[in-house]
Amino acid sequence: MTPTSRRWVRIAFAGPGAVLIALVVMAGMTLWLPAGKAGIDNLVLPLVLAPLIWAGLFFHACLDRRLGRVAIVAMVLLLVHSGLIANRFREKISTPAEAHR
């Protein structure tokens, strides 16, 4: 990969990539974070932490010398949290269908 294309990949991860992944992580976090004593931690903490998650992804994309590691961290976060959300929707769809049987 040429230095120019490496730079653009980095910009893509720091810019639109960080926004997209932060949104997906925020949604996915609601499904694995413990609800806590009040039953709201899993709903409130992702909302509170969203700007910091974005900043973490942004600075990681800017500062990590190994572009491969930037890509791996971002893609793992994206895939794990997308998977959790997809699983949640699959469960929701299958629950009413089973109830009809």
Binding site: T30, L31, I40, V44, L47, V48, C62, R65
Partner: protein, 525 residues
């Protein structure tokens, strides 16, 4: 002290510079109006000449509330908000929650009850109408609206200020990372060197001292901007299949078994008296859920206790007026998420320790404005003599940096004239636009940036000096009346405006008198 390798430092310098250049001027507008809005409540009392000091929650209201409940359609009894409006009048908003184009809104009937218990205003509308600008709070409301969304319609305005918050976060963190000598920089102010070095030092010192504050402001500000526009829908989508109302219920609602049987409202005066005694302060806001039902719940919200940051709230049974529990602001019982979310507001507004914390927040906000303004100037000086000319940006920086305080002072002057005539909601933004147009015109005709700066500073200083006089001439309470009524804030703000105006003009005169040193421009470190 953080030591980054050379390439990463270079990247961070670029990120720091571009985050300021691309959005710096808009960020400056948001931070400056936010700095002024720290004192929105006090500015509201000063500008409207409010002299009543007895809170609406200390006066009897139970009968008025029952009477209003009886004549309000049942469909708006889902919730009632009680808050102070105008000169300690009581605002009562009977409403229900509904979704409007994907946004959760409140719709109902709003009453204002005067200090004699009579209804002085009735209005059907949504939360946007009820909590929007009125004639007497048009100035403070204008300041807050500019800060919150730059007068861009929602959700775009909130998204814009959220993005500005993130860019400030980036500027703060990258600013920290590029400091080679963080502790040395805090105390280094070289006055004998070149003007560029002196400016760079001043930028560094102000930036370094206000760094933690910038981080907190940027973090909490972007949280508020994205909370309702992006955060709630995304979390609701994942956790409640997109039902934002269900998410709001889960986070803010008071759990309990529904009991829809009709029941008369308990004695609200007893609740208010008990809440004031328990919290040691009058409520800032009161909500009633399920008004007129057996399961009605009253929540009173109070400022933080001494040495606390999070505001407190108390829960009462609405039908019996019995105290139930001290309730966290968010969630039914104390939790990490609830506490973190609850401290966001005091950390952003600096209102957790009265006027002292507000004054500190104001000072640090002012430092942030200075950092943004001088940061852009430094970026421009570094590029002076380059292939591309940035003279237009230098002029724009002066028009925004110094024209904005002028336009705000102009809108204040116009408000003071228009409020007694009842047309302040229209004239306050109009006054701001007139001030802005004058600043832009000055920018277009000024021979150079230095002259433009002198014009705008002179005009702002004169306008600030004029404000207390204008307030008195348009029927505002005099200093003795304000003192007797227990409103020293009116006098304090008069003095603050006189001092700020005098200082601005004195600085201008001092700069004009002083022989101009020959400036040898050097690239800043």
């Amino acid at each position: 002290m953080i030591r980054l390798p050379r390439d990463e430092t270079k990247a961070m310098v670029a990120v720091h510079g571009w985050s300021g250049i691309l959005l710096g001027l808009l960020l400056y507008a948001v931070v400056l109006t936010g700095t002024a809005a720290v004192f929105a409540e006090e500015i509201g009392a000063w500008s409207a000449g409010h002299v009543a000091t007895r809170s609406a929650f200390e006066r009897p209201m139970a009968d008025s509330l029952r009477r209003l409940g009886a004549k309000t359609p049942d469909r708006y009894s889902e919730a009632v908000d009680l808050f102070e409006t105008g000169d300690h009048d009581l605002g009562v908003f009977f409403h229900r929650h509904e979704m409007d184009r994907g946004e959760l809104i409140s719709r109902g009937i709003f009453y204002v009850v005067g200090d004699d218990g009579r209804v002085i205003h009735r209005q059907a509308g949504t939360n946007e109408d009820v909590y929007g600008a009125r004639n007497d709070n048009a100035l403070s409301s204008f300041l807050v609206d500019t800060h919150v969304r730059l007068h861009v319609p929602n959700p775009w305005g909130l998204l814009l200020t959220g993005i500005l918050g993130l860019s400030m976060l980036v500027a703060a963190v990258s600013g920290l990372l590029i400091h080679r000598h963080l502790f040395k920089d805090i105390f280094t102010l070289r006055r004998s060197g070149s003007a560029v070095l002196a400016n760079r030092d001043a930028h560094s010192v102000a930036g370094t001292w206000s760094l933690p504050f910038a981080f907190v402001l940027a973090f909490t500000g972007s949280f508020f901007s994205f909370f309702g526009t992006v955060g709630m829908p995304v979390v609701a989508m994942a956790a409640f299949g997109g039902d934002v109302q269900a998410l709001t219920e889960a986070v803010y609602g008071t759990p309990g078994k529904p009991d829809p049987r009709p029941a008369a409202m308990g004695n609200m005066d007893r609740i208010n008296a008990d809440a004031i005694a328990r919290a040691g302060a009058v409520p800032t806001f009161v909500t009633i859920e399920n008004f007129g039902r057996a399961d009605a719940k009253v929540t009173t919200y109070h400022p933080p206790r001494d040495a606390a940051i999070a505001p407190m709230s108390l829960l009462y049974d609405g039908a019996t007026a019995a105290f139930l529990q001290e309730k966290p602001l968010i969630g039914p019982r104390p939790s990490t998420g609830g506490t973190l979310a609850a401290i966001m507001s005091p950390l952003h507004f600096g209102n957790f320790a009265g006027l002292l914390s507000k004054a500190i927040w104001f000072g640090l906000g002012f430092a942030m404005c200075y950092v943004t303004y001088t940061g852009i100037r430094l970026w421009l000086v570094r590029r002076e003599g380059g292939v591309r000319s940035f003279a237009w940006l230098e002029r724009t920086n002066v028009v925004v940096g110094l024209g904005l305080p002028f336009a705000l002072a102009a809108s204040t002057a116009v408000f003071l004239v228009a409020m007694p005539l009842g047309s302040a909601t229209w004239w306050t933004p109009a006054g701001f636009l007139i001030g802005t147009a004058l600043a832009i015109m000055a920018g277009a005709i000024a021979p150079n940036a230095e002259r433009l700066s002198a014009w705008l500073r002179g005009a702002t200083g004169a306008m600030l000096l004029l404000l207390p006089l204008l307030r008195l001439l348009t029927g505002g309470p005099g200093w003795s009346t304000a003192f007797v009524a227990g409103q020293p804030i009116i006098v304090t703000l008069d003095i603050a405006f006189l001092f700020a105006g005098g200082w601005t003009l004195w600085q201008l005169r001092r700069n004009t008198d002083r022989p101009r040193p020959s400036i040898a421009l050097q690239p800043a470190e």
